[in-house]
Symmetry: C2
DNA sequence: TCACATTTGTCCGTATGTATC
DNA sequence: AGATACATACGGACAAATGTG
């Protein structure tokens, strides 16, 4: 927590809880509140902002859903600044896809378009660090599989690392969004080791092609890989009952 | 509001307000609660869910921020189901871009990549309805300008209509995200009629090229258009104080 | 113009649950 | 096991906004 006592300013216009969420957001943007730091307790905040605890709590709900804070109960608990808002945006993306009744086919088409571009840039721009990270990722995935653990997380990370290697963080965010949506769909089906194994193999070959700067081979592999993932998902039933993220 | 009285189920596990937000979300996904419909008052909901009004309000804050409901005070007010969650996701996208310190250049590069793809598909797939909508959009923009009104909203809509013409709603969502981010940046500079006028002219010519199916011309125009928009934005100072969306 | 009803917005006090020491 | 410091939740109250008669 910052040492200044007056970084929180009492409330004026609009709804009070919006002001509170807005003020705390700004403090995060400005770097005055940093990831990992703990905010004062709700009682304390209520005193500083000169509002009731209910108002503070509604403001905190907004910040929590926006991914700016996480809340822990119990002794030593409280609200803490988080370091990324990506997960929460992913959840909202999933909601939107549902409401707009997006098909897996449409999502895969866009995914392929974006990953094609990413791969093209990655072949040109990937440096040693990127290659090393991709390599380690594949090793980790293989290790998981050997322990009879699904390597889904590692396999998703491969595509995020590719996006990073393309040297544009907007692409990383968009890939993350699409992957969250896919993982959401995946969560509705039983684990399938064969799929995971196949994905790792594709990743391995794609990385080889990147290192060799064999653009045609890399593209073809990517295409096959993503189409196969799509095929796994295509048979899924639509069930609005399951797993609504908050 | 649905006629059944028992669509709301009393609360069990996790945090109560999360359960409430989750239940209402599911009702929207299932189509039991439809856009425009009004939820019972907070008091009423508290009774049905068998929780306090404070708990209901925290649940509503989540749904409001997620874009599922909007809230109006006063007589005849209450909470109403909204028809899209897109704007709120856009706001979260802007937050993420800020936290990740994304540059306008990076955003424009990705925008161009995506709109190139969209334009390519639109040239092939746009039907009469799409063309008509694009035409009307341009007329509306010109009318705005003649009345000395900025045509920013209409100009943004042109790109959404293009995405629609590409016949893939995921692209519509991604374009919307990027446009919200751009409009956020635009809000930090004084209105510029010359920019708006130029954009409309580009849109007009792009539409002509689409109708003629002149791919090369359309692409070149798009490229120039988006680069010009970027140039307008590039000189902007970064000010974390201004306009934090809630 | 003026009460009036409805509903959100806000406050206070209090009690319970929970995780750590 | 007991004390502590939190978030979570409840109940009752009043203020403010907004439309109606």
């Amino acid at each position: 927590m910052a040492k200044q006592k007056d970084i929180f300013i009492p409330i004026r216009g609009q709804r009070a809880f919006e002001e509170i969420a807005s003020q705390i957001k700004k403090l995060v943007f400005k770097g005055i509140l940093k990831p990992g730091e703990r905010l004062p307790s709700e009682m304390d905040l209520a005193g500083r902002f000169n509002v009731s605890r209910q108002t503070i709590r509604e403001g905190l709900r907004i910040l929590e859903l926006s991914g700016f804070i996480k809340v822990q109960k119990g002794y030593g608990g409280g609200t803490f600044i988080k370091d990324t808002t990506l997960n929460k945006m992913g959840d909202l993306f999933v909601d939107t896809l549902r409401l707009e009744k997006i098909t897996i086919e449409d999502l895969t088409v866009v995914r392929l378009e974006n990953e094609r571009i990413i791969l093209n840039y990655a072949i040109d721009l990937a440096d040693e660090k990127d290659i090393k990270a991709l390599h380690e990722n594949i090793l980790r995935a293989k290790a998981d599989l050997k322990k009879n653990k699904m390597a889904t997380a590692a396999n998703f990370e491969f595509h995020k690392l590719l996006a990073k290697a393309s040297k544009n963080n907007v692409r990383v965010i968009l890939v993350e969004l699409i992957l969250v949506a896919l993982s959401h769909m995946l969560s509705r089906r039983p684990p399938n080791f064969e799929t995971t194994r196949s994905a790792i193999e594709y990743h391995d070959k794609i990385l080889e092609a990147i290192i060799k700067k064999d653009r045609a081979a890399a593209m073809a592999l990517l295409e096959d890989h993503l189409k196969e993932v799509e095929h796994q998902l295509r048979t899924l039933p639509y069930d609005p009952e399951i797993s609504v993220a908050i």
